[in-house]
Symmetry: C2
């Protein structure tokens, strides 16, 4: 099960990792955890019916249930505690609920962790000893897998590489830092930088009418409130000067975070995924240049930077893997 703020996705896997069937539904978190848990249960029951080869429903086919959920989650206690993304979901005992319904082992993990596990099992980092996975969407998620095991912090906590400080003169983040990675290189950071640049440029244009208009300055045709990271990336690809500057700035900051991951972990593979990484082509040159520049103390240039192979299904695969590996 891959449970996000909007959708819940469930898949039936065999033990070799073949995805036999998948279904999804809106989670409608605000209707409350109980309604949400029933919906997840219904998805699983539906999948079990589908994969039962005879007309008989066969619960015995079910070996276990793995759940990835946007954090904070408590893997040890089996609790989802994420009212930020799933309004009303505080200390929801999803593991106990599913164990009660299906009488099989149930595992709960952070979504970044299951996505990393998925890429380790059957994706871009297949069987490497150390895999660091970075997901760039609205925020930046990160996870480390060592020898197929999720690296955890004290008390089973999920370290949060997306909030490492990259530039203390940067903007404040809800995490408590100024200039953390997420505040400088995530999708929302890209959108914010573009909005700020458009606003600043409007002022500048008003002050100085004689400035030459830059080629492809699409930005003046858009309502700033409608700017998102995808719009910026598309405008940059079309050659919009302002969008290109914003993407270059984001790529620069993104590359510093990648360099820090290489310096602090030296993993064989860093896997990149998430909506913003659909524009990875705009980021890769900056990352590669940075890795060569920071190759003195650690063999950073040997760290392979790879796009995720399982795309939006990485979390589903990884959730399944938590069952297979246990």
């Amino acid at each position: 099960v891959d449970l996000g703020g909007t959708l819940v996705r469930a898949g039936a896997f065999d033990l070799q990792g073949k995805l036999l069937a998948q279904r999804e539904a809106p989670i409608e978190a605000a209707r409350g955890p109980e309604a949400g848990l029933e919906r997840i249960e219904a998805l699983i029951v539906g999948l079990l019916h589908f994969v039962s080869s005879t007309k008989t429903f066969r619960l015995s086919l079910l070996r276990g249930i793995g759940i990835g959920c946007s954090g904070p989650v408590d893997p040890d206690k089996g609790l989802i505690n994420n009212p930020h993304t799933l309004p009303t979901w505080e200390n929801v005992p999803v593991v106990a609920w599913m164990q009660d319904r299906f009488a099989v082992p149930v595992r709960l993990e952070n979504d970044a962790d299951v996505a990393a596990l998925g890429e380790y099992w059957l994706g871009a980092g297949k069987n490497v000893r150390r895999l660091y996975a970075i997901t760039v969407g609205t925020g930046i998620g990160a996870a480390l897998v060592i020898d197929g095991q999720i690296y955890r912090g004290l008390g089973g906590s999920h370290p949060d590489g997306g909030h490492q400080v990259i530039d203390p003169s940067g903007p404040p983040c809800y995490c408590g830092a100024h200039g953390c990675w997420e505040s400088l290189a995530s999708g929302s950071a890209i959108a914010r930088m573009a909005r700020e640049a458009v606003d600043a440029r409007d002022v500048e244009l008003a002050d100085s009418k004689h400035k030459p208009v830059q080629a492809g300055s699409l930005h003046r045709n858009i309502d700033p409130s409608r700017i998102d990271a995808q719009w910026v990336a598309e405008a940059a690809i079309k050659g919009d000067a302002l969008a290109m500057q914003v993407m270059e700035r984001a790529a620069y900051y993104f590359s510093l975070g990648v360099v820090n991951v290489a310096t602090l972990f030296v993993p064989e593979v860093i896997v990149l995924s998430g909506g913003v990484m659909k524009s990875a082509a705009l980021f890769i040159p900056a990352i590669e240049a940075a890795m060569l520049r920071h190759n003195v103390m650690v063999p950073a240039a040997k760290v392979r930077i790879l796009p995720a192979q399982l795309g939006h299904l990485a979390g589903l695969y990884g959730a399944a893997y938590t069952v297979v590996q246990s």
Copy 2:
């Protein structure tokens, strides 16, 4: 054996970690690796004589030899390759040499790694699951121990947390980065900042004779070339305004690196050691404030920040532990 750029120290330990005897000698690296290896051999032979309870020399007392050495070292191949700190020492097969002489298992590790292992075995991080050790001297060394094992990067490499980027507008470092941790918060960074401040201030005083002299401005009585981190720390403790500013700045940057370690690893314990950490009292308030500020995404406030307990002997203990644990 703890092999540094100036001194080599050797200790005889029993299997419980009791230090039975220790000796040290200048390494005089520039005289060549062979002379250095013979000196280390002589130290070990001397210790064996000392701990042999009868008059008979008993090689059978020796279970193994652990060696910590300032990096780069190659633990897998048993090579020291550090001509920076040990001039002429390129690809020195210290493990093969000692195995040939003593016919026991020999282990070679990076000095930051053995210091961390020592603190894990018998020091401040005794038996914690995740221990991150930070040594602040001329540079900043760092090491992670998970369940008593050194965390290694690809190809057995030693990650180098001391060179994580903290502020990209900072000074250039030999590591390839601008504003890495070592360039902002190490002993040499403190000395550099103080020298720059004294230089700038001298100019300022010359320009404006009417400026009131600040209380305790000891800095005007020193030749800038003689300023080192210890001098700055002492001047700060005595109340010198400029020295206090420099130490505050270093403490601020140091705290950002500690916050990043907490964010990226969430270890139970972070152990601080090294010459600069003799002035830890000047750093701790900044670190504690930063940990509270960055307690949103990870339980940073639960990470214990502790001074090393084994002091300058941590490396010796840790080197011994590599033998005990194998």
